[in-house]
């Protein structure tokens, strides 16, 4: 796919970097004159995916997370990937309220929020190789 603009970032899987990813996405989007609420939608989805990579993918261990942002035809494309644990049963993982880590006070709403705030989402994952979440959202233009 040919993007009008693109940017990919690899960062250490540390929770302190979660806010960095939101800043990055906001500033990538900012060129396309989004509304504050469009930004919040995308930011929230990114935050969910990145948090998942850190706590489920790497389970707090060292690792690098990839965040891709692309823009083409008024649509923003986001990908978040890790080389962590992977997901065995993707369908079940995406069910609302399913969580494998209730002891960490997770509620199993991450994927549901991503689906609600983005227009499309695709998850590819291989156990022990990692997970890639791809999402897109069309921006409203006047």
């Amino acid at each position: 796919m040919k993007y009008e603009n693109e940017c990919v970032t690899y960062f250490a899987a540390k929770s302190q970097n979660e806010s960095l990813t939101r800043v990055l996405v906001t500033s990538f989007l900012a060129t396309y004159d989004p509304t504050v609420s469009e930004i919040t939608d995308v930011k929230t989805a990114v935050s969910e995916a990145v948090t998942n990579a850190i706590i489920h993918g790497y389970e707090g261990q060292d690792g690098m997370v990839e965040l891709f942002c692309g823009y083409a035809e008024e649509t923003i494309y986001i990908e978040v990937a890790d080389k962590g644990k992977g997901i065995g049963d993707i369908t079940r993982a995406m069910e609302p309220l399913y969580t494998s880590k209730p002891e960490l006070e997770r509620s199993g709403m991450g994927f549901t929020i991503m689906e609600a705030f983005m227009e499309g989402i695709m998850v590819v994952s291989t156990p022990n190789l990692g997970t890639r979440v791809s999402m897109y959202k069309k921006l409203s233009r006047e």
Partner: protein, 115 residues
């Protein structure tokens, strides 16, 4: 994230300002429990007017605090969330067990009038 604590009878009032994500939740959890314990609280109110961003980590943290309050026979309620935060609450159906009120006074009234 910044937290301000105050108490009213057995209610711990927590004013949250900033972002609620996985990173900041860790801090919130510890601080809230510490203060709840200190005042020997029963209920908790989270005053959320200063919260601009919350993701699912916030849901987990609220339910976690709900469990704690429940053990003491108390409740958790939310006051003054912005539309966004409220939307996330509703999506997770958390409003079934944690009620939202448009302001602190109503939240207090609910708890004190309740039981």
């Amino acid at each position: 994230m910044e937290l301000k604590f105050s108490k009213r009878n057995q209610i711990l009032i927590v004013r949250i300002q900033g972002e609620i994500d996985h990173h900041t939740c860790e801090h919130m959890r510890v601080a809230v429990e510490h203060n709840f314990e200190k005042i020997r609280g029963k209920h908790m109110i989270f005053e959320m007017s200063g919260v601009d961003f919350m993701d699912s980590s916030g849901i987990g943290a609220m339910i976690g605090r709900y469990k704690v309050a429940k053990c003491m026979g108390g409740k958790v309620v939310i006051a003054n969330p912005n539309e966004r935060v409220e939307q996330i609450f509703r999506m997770s159906a958390m409003d079934r067990i944690i009620s939202c009120y448009p302001n602190l006074e109503q939240a207090i009234q609910h708890l004190e009038g309740g039981k």
